[in-house]
């Protein structure tokens, strides 16, 4: 097997709450890896720590513990200066297209920045690359002179994509790139991401709370709950047979396009709120809301292991070689 483009091991990120001596455990022991040209969908609710993982991968925030390897190289403790040349290979698409573009720069300047920074092109070459890249994301050359406030949300996000991809990185971290857009625009931007991914072959860590988006884009998915991954595996397998009770609840909450089937379906509504990451529950973090929790769940933390299938580890005591919990069939 070749070295994964991104490998995250036991990543921990705690944010200290001032004056209270407590820590928000935003990410608490997450491991994941992404192979060449693979798209990993990282799914979870708000506050589950998925964006924090994205930021740690780019070292926009410093991990508390654990390690991040890019193409086999440990970047966890590299200095900012040493990190600089590696930045060519990773870029990020941000959630909010309104704050992710420098309002004082023109679109052309924004897309040209990475090229200049890394000395990839100069002079007329820069213009050429910028025009080409803008064209690939579906923006005409006349957009180059515009400033971000003259563009729509969808156009801005295309500029964000162009900026992220202009250096042809090996890995793109996309942090909810479409959730700030109108639904109609979401589809076109997602198609664009899918097309570009196929053409350019970059690996992608796609962070989202939208299950239909991952189903469409991701080769594999990882489901997060309260700073930990509860289930991961190939998208098709997980959608076909979710094993972790939380994944089952998430999938049952997503609407079904066929109204007849939608009516027949049974939705599981989880009781209660996500517990505070300041003081996560003992044992399995999901046990406070899990309808099938047993005593072991309250005391012992389940490991993320592939009991039934090597390819898709699940962190649940109830998933055994012979049995899988099913919360959708219960009343």
């Amino acid at each position: 097997m070749t070295t994964p483009v991104l490998e995250v091991k036991d990543l921990v990120k705690h944010y200290h709450v001032r004056g209270r001596g407590q820590a928000v455990r935003a990410v608490d022991g997450v491991s994941l890896s992404i192979g060449q040209g693979e798209v990993l969908g990282l799914v979870g609710e708000s506050g589950s720590g998925k964006s924090t993982i994205g930021k740690c991968v780019l070292r926009l925030t410093e991990p508390t513990a654990g390690s991040v390897h890019l193409s086999g190289r440990d970047i966890t403790h590299l200095s900012r200066r040493a990190l600089r040349p590696l930045r060519r290979d990773v870029h990020m698409v941000f959630q909010d297209p309104y704050s992710s573009l420098n309002p004082r720069f023109t679109v052309g300047q924004i897309v040209a920045e990475p090229l200049r920074r890394h000395g990839v092109a100069r002079g007329a070459q820069v213009d050429e690359r910028v025009r080409e890249m803008l064209e690939r994301v579906g923006l005409g050359a006349e957009m180059r002179g515009r400033r971000p406030h003259e563009l729509s949300g969808g156009q801005r996000q295309r500029v964000g994509l162009a900026r992220a991809l202009v250096l042809e990185p090996k890995l793109v971290v996309a942090d909810e790139p479409v959730s700030a857009l109108d639904v109609s625009v979401q589809a076109s931007v997602l198609n664009l991401v899918a097309d570009l991914q196929r053409d350019m072959g970059f690996s992608c860590l796609f962070i989202t709370h939208d299950l239909s988006v991952v189903e469409f884009l991701a080769d594999r998915i990882a489901v997060m709950y309260l700073g930990q991954i509860v289930e991961t595996g190939p998208t098709k397998k997980i959608f076909a047979e979710p094993q972790h009770p939380y994944t089952q609840a998430l999938l049952s909450a997503a609407p079904e396009p066929d109204p007849a089937r939608q009516r027949e379906r049974r939705r599981v509504v989880l009781a209660g709120e996500v517990p505070s990451p300041l003081d996560p529950p003992s044992g399995c973090r999901f046990h406070t809301r899990c309808p099938v929790a047993v005593d072991t769940c309250r005391t012992e933390e389940p490991a993320l292991i592939g009991v039934r299938d090597e390819e898709r580890p699940v962190a649940c005591h109830l998933v055994t070689a012979t049995e899988v919990p099913d919360i959708t069939g219960r009343d």
Partner: protein, 261 residues
């Protein structure tokens, strides 16, 4: 708009005024404390000097003090605020506690103290006022930087491998310019009043050089005999202050990206 007109008017007065009027130091011994007349439009002071000339020339001195002290405070304060806000962990606590110490003194008290230490002269007034204005500017700059450095486009620049200097000057500072321009415009009237106060107290510009504050001090002794001497410098101070304040408000509306976009 009104502010712009007023400020423009004062700038014209300060530049052109002294050229058109009499020598502000020339004395007419025949007519001390003369009321307004054809020869002396605003009358004369106790030494027979033309009041109009002194007010016009005083505009030059007062505006110079106001504008230069704010400029000096900006030149020093903006980089300090920028660096303090950007290196929040390292420098911010130290810089902000120093700023708090200075801010604990009322603006004028601090300026008076500084001027008393430095000694009276136009140059020292400007230094004293700018040091007093400094903490406000540092604080405003830092506040803006703290907001701006968290924006995604700054994160994008970091992700891109941009250096600290480039991020500060190309990404963070430009976002703060409109606020800073407004802050400067609003600082000028404070400085003008500061200069007038210092001069009034004898800690500022020294006679015979006329600044509005100096003219006002001299006129104070003759309020009952020649009230016209005190009125005009007072009106000038009030109107210029109003003008710069209105201009600042207007600029805020025009430049603030939140209101125009």
């Amino acid at each position: 708009m009104v502010g712009l007109v007023l400020v423009a008017g004062f700038l014209v007065l300060a530049i052109v005024g002294p050229l058109l009027t009499a020598d502000p130091a020339a004395q007419d011994y025949t007519a001390p404390l003369a009321p307004p007349s054809g020869a002396h439009l605003l009358g004369t002071d106790d030494l027979g000097r033309d009041a109009l000339a002194r007010v016009a020339y005083g505009a030059r001195v007062s505006l110079e003090a106001g504008v230069l002290s704010v400029l000096l405070a900006m030149v020093v304060g903006v980089p300090i605020g920028l660096v303090a806000g950007y290196y929040r962990r390292l420098l911010d606590p130290v810089v902000m506690r120093l700023v708090d110490v200075v801010l604990a003194f009322p603006f004028l008290i601090f300026a008076v103290g500084m001027a008393a230490i430095l000694g009276p002269s136009l140059r020292n007034v400007i230094i004293a006022l700018s040091v007093s204005l400094l903490p406000g500017i540092v604080r405003v700059t830092r506040g803006e930087v703290l907001v701006l450095r968290e924006l995604d486009y700054v994160a994008a620049a970091v992700a891109d491998g941009a250096g600290d200097g480039r991020i500060m000057f190309r990404y963070v500072l430009p976002g703060a310019t409109s606020t800073l321009i407004v802050q400067a415009t609003v600082g000028i009237p404070t400085a003008i009043i500061g200069e007038a106060t210092l001069s009034f107290l004898g800690l500022g510009v020294q006679p015979p050089t006329p600044s509005w504050g100096v003219v006002l001090t001299a006129a104070q002794q003759f309020l009952d005999q020649a009230p016209w001497l005190a009125i005009w410098p007072g009106v000038m101070i009030a109107l210029s202050t109003l003008g710069f304040n209105l201009l600042g408000d207007g600029l805020r509306d025009v430049l603030d990206p939140r209101s125009s976009r």
